[in-house]
């Protein structure tokens, strides 16, 4: 069950240093209000293969990400998912085990302080993955 994973949380609009992050197999965990076009495109460049949306605004956030990904066929294979009504543990499992699989991956979490479910998923992910010190 323990995968090699790097979990990084970006709260309240704190921008990632995309250059320093480089490119790697990436899952983006999306809380509310983080679906700006630039973030989606940067994340795709950084290796994002899935955007997992949770919390109350999950459907709207997924829609806005879809809108960006629909613009180029190169991005059609990138998955977007929503998890309304699912438990925190089910979402963490989906990210860490179902999507993450056996190969190393990282999770970039874009959350707001009020995103209770997304923050709880980040906490739960620590039980599923070996987070580097």
């Amino acid at each position: 069950m323990m995968n090699r994973c790097d979990l990084r949380v970006f709260s309240d609009g704190a921008p990632p240093d995309w250059v320093a992050l480089g490119k790697a197999r990436t899952i983006c965990l999306m809380g509310s209000a983080y679906s700006a076009e630039e973030l989606v495109l940067r994340a795709v460049d950084a290796g994002a293969f899935a955007f997992v949306c949770c919390g109350e605004l999950a459907n709207q956030v997924e829609d806005s990400i879809d809108e960006v990904l629909e613009r180029s066929e190169d991005m059609f294979d990138i998955m977007t998912t929503t998890h309304a009504g699912e438990t925190v543990d089910d979402i963490a499992f989906f990210v860490a085990v179902a999507l993450g699989g056996d190969e190393p991956f990282r999770v970039l979490a874009f959350v707001q302080s009020g995103d209770e479910q997304a923050l709880a998923v980040c906490a739960a992910l620590k039980d599923y993955v070996a987070v580097p010190a």
Binding site: M1, E70, M79, T82, A98
Partner: protein, 87 residues
């Protein structure tokens, strides 16, 4: 228990749980695709654009949903094949 769930009964618990998640996503995406195909909507901000552009955006939307469904199906197939290989 459905036939599919029956087929998966011998798989490790993690694989069964992952397959259930992907099946749920397939159902949700199929529903979304069905609704969109029966009543195609226009993305906000594209309402006034030429019909060719709108049509091409709508085609892209449907195509991407189909590709996502295929991707989820592949994940399920990969889980089943991997479990069989490990058995």
């Amino acid at each position: 228990m459905s036939n599919q769930e029956n087929d998966d009964a011998g798989l490790p618990a993690d694989d069964r749980r992952a397959i259930r998640s992907f099946r749920k996503l397939i159902d949700a995406h199929e529903k979304k695709l069905e609704e969109f195909l029966s009543r195609p909507t226009v993305r906000p901000g594209m309402e006034g654009l030429e019909s060719d552009l709108v049509r091409s955006q709508q085609e892209a939307r449907a195509k991407r949903l189909i590709r996502e469904i295929r991707k989820f199906e592949k994940e399920i197939a990969r889980r089943r094949a991997g479990a069989r290989k490990d058995a």
